[in-house]
Subunit: 232 residues, 2 copies
DNA sequence: GCAAAAGTGTTTGGATTACACCCATGC
DNA sequence: GCATGGGTGTAATCCAAACACTTTTGC
């Protein structure tokens, strides 16, 4: 066989990962941005991303890159789409793979590190302009996330450890941009394994709501033993 | 900022695409394989894949690679997962992105070309052993496909242009490994826009079934105008 | 008591299920 | 006629939507 160009010339690409970290606060979904202190796009907002080392597998690289730039560790990252437009990076052919995660913003502290100058949780519906094709990456990944909210219990990655049923309902109403009936919502989630805590909301000027948490152990068990399918 | 290794050394990767082309025949889902006539893994079965040119966008590369090896053109390819284990390719760091498609096997003719020595439609449940990590790629992509069958009208990409309702039912029964009631299946698909053709099965030794085809135009219209959601 | 949100029960119509039955064709 | 699948109707049941109502807290 003959390539149009020499085989060795194919080994002239670079490969990067970009992490879209989503969280939920003030009733809105936010994404974690960094201000770049490095060319190209120095001084501009971007999602945390960097080149993969030659001997590094992708999931490991994703965790490393995220922690180098934001000091976040122990975040469960999932692979998203890969973006390979030849012009997406001004310095050469860099193909990038999106990784994303859902986190509880209040449970962790993101801090700028390495060549990140600043970090920012930006609400998804008012993103600043972003470096490279990061806008496209964030938006495509956000669409994946919203689809996933329907089939997997990932809403609990966004909600606080202890949440009220109303908070859960509001998250879905916000993500799907619909209004739901309180009574019907509660009936619908009856099959989801939640722990009804003996604890109530505090400092509210109305009847305090009960707190719940997700019963992850029971969920796993249901999936394995009874073919349980989460569906919202 | 400082990298552990020199920046230029990052431009020593290669990037490939591998195409998993699925079709349906004899009541089973098949995947298109080629016999490699090129090192590494010469003489072994693999899915069609090759390196991406430096100035080539991914979707274009996917179509090119598929047609170079199998002479298939005009196949609508979708992006799947990206695989980047550092040891997946014996000749260097090659990260690969899976592309997949669903086709009507009878409507097209795959022929070995370029360095492919032979092509084969192999049923998914009896795959031979495959080069590289192609088994993993095919299986992960197959799982995506089966999930997608539930939410998108892709079963019509697999079925012949004109099909009977029973053929459609059998495809779902096979893919989900369940049995369905004939009458109930027909009630369930009532909302799917099908064209009831004035044509019947021929050469069957029982009452000939009516033929249908998918009304793609009406489907598009429904999605746009009425927020129609395909669901099986 | 009032405002505000928590939390529950009832009705209704539409979808899903199980199952029975009739129809058209080849041989 | 009979074997084989094509095609349809019905009753029981489940589920989701709409809506009204009661409860508990702060002020």
């Amino acid at each position: 066989m003959s390539y149009k160009i020499k085989f060795d010339h194919f080994f002239s690409y670079s490969f990067s990962l970009d992490c879209a970290i989503f969280g939920y606060k003030d009733g809105k979904i936010h994404v974690l941005l960094i201000k770049r202190a490095m060319e190209p796009y120095s001084g501009e907002w971007a999602i945390p991303g960097n080149l993969v080392y030659p001997d590094e597998d992708l999931p490991i690289a994703a965790s490393r890159i995220l922690s180098e730039l934001t000091k976040l560790t122990d975040v469960e990252l999932h692979q998203g789409q890969t973006f390979g437009n030849p012009n997406r990076h001004p310095q050469g052919r860099v193909i990038t793979c999106a990784y994303f995660a859902l986190v509880r913003i209040d449970d962790l502290v993101a801090e700028a590190d390495s060549w990140a100058e600043e970090v920012l949780w930006a609400p998804m519906h008012e993103l600043p302009s972003l470096a490279f094709d990061h806008k496209e990456i964030v938006e495509s990944t956000y669409a994946d996330l919203r689809r996933k909210l329907q089939y997997e219990p990932i809403c609990f990655d966004l909600l606080p450890e202890k949440f009220t049923l109303n908070e859960m309902q509001q998250l879905y109403e916000y993500a799907y941009n619909v209004e739901m009936d309180k009574a019907n919502f509660r009936k619908k989630i009856k099959s989801i394994p939640l722990i009804h805590l003996e604890e109530k909301q505090k400092n509210v000027k109305h009847r305090p709501a009960n707190l719940f948490s997700f019963d992850a152990d029971r969920y796993k068990q249901l999936v394995e033993e009874e073919n349980y399918l989460f569906r919202m």
